[in-house]
């Protein structure tokens, strides 16, 4: 079985003080299942690491001089590369298909994943990017058939487990659920 790894889980491994750190580290070290992210995750990793670095909240405390000597944009690249390499993440891009649908006397043409997010938004009631991650994960299954779970630490997504399973046929799991 393969999983779509939410950004919250990826960055928890950089936070030893995070309440979920030990469970995330266990997942990191012992879980054999292939891990996937999307282009949305790549953007999000860049944004999150940028904000952390600009706020002085990401560092290499062991005195790794080549990291500390980098410009902000270079640090962001290193952090994103580091996360993707160490977590052994595969960035999967869904096949680009588009859907046309009528809206306010116009015909809107949008990517399949966006349409799925629009369709399921009223039922799931999640934030825009949460919806996109979930619908990307669902669409990726066309190319990765055993991608059946969405691993996250986000309490709001976890609280909608049942609805997500019904609407998108994805099982939401948390590292805190245990092995």
């Amino acid at each position: 079985m393969a999983t779509y790894l939410d950004t919250s889980v990826i960055i928890a491994r950089y936070m030893p003080a995070n309440p979920a750190f030990n469970e995330v580290e266990r997942l990191f070290r012992t879980s054999p299942e292939p891990r996937y992210i999307s282009e949305i995750s790549v953007l999000e990793l860049h944004c999150v690491f940028s904000r952390l670095i600009r706020g002085g909240m990401l560092s290499a405390p062991l005195g790794l001089s080549s990291f500390e000597g980098l410009e902000t944009n270079e640090k962001v690249k290193v952090a994103v590369e580091h996360a993707i390499l160490t977590w052994r993440l595969t960035v999967a891009t869904p096949e680009r298909t588009y859907i046309r649908f009528p809206l306010s006397r116009q015909t809107i043409e949008t990517q399949h994943e966006l349409f799925e997010a629009i369709r399921t938004a009223p039922t799931l009631g999640l934030k825009t990017l949460d919806m996109l991650h979930l619908t990307y994960a669902k669409t990726m299954r066309e190319t990765v058939p055993d991608l059946k779970t969405f691993t996250t630490l986000d309490g709001e997504i976890i609280s909608r487990r049942k609805e997500i399973e019904n609407e998108l046929d994805l099982t939401v799991v948390s590292p805190l659920d245990g092995p």
Partner: protein
């Protein structure tokens, strides 16, 4: 909701005209490549060269030597020390940090 699904064919991707000034030496080189039968026209030759080098240049921009060196050092430190050498210091949880960026 009524909708229909389709995949736009890549062949329909619009072409754009880019005027380009070349010095005589480069223009002659292009003409030579065409004369040798490697390309059908100057345009085809230039298009092929751009396609071949643009991604390479972009890769070099994204991952420069300083970035590669720092990454190598981090990966080595992790291998030797066993833990993640990068640390996020925040009062927030990982889920809160990400949720904040999704607002």
């Amino acid at each position: 909701m009524l909708y229909n699904m389709y995949t736009p064919p890549h062949e329909l991707m619009a072409m754009t005209v880019v005027p380009i000034r070349l010095n005589r030496q480069d223009a002659r080189k292009l003409d030579l490549l065409v004369r040798l039968g490697l390309y059908n026209s100057r345009t085809e030759a230039m298009r092929a060269m751009i396609q071949a080098t643009a991604d390479e240049q972009l890769n070099r921009y994204v991952l420069n030597d300083r970035v590669k060196e720092a990454l190598k050092e981090l990966l080595q430190a992790e291998k030797q020390g066993g833990g993640n050498p990068l640390r996020i210091t925040s009062d927030k949880t990982a889920a809160e940090i990400v949720a904040e960026s999704r607002r």
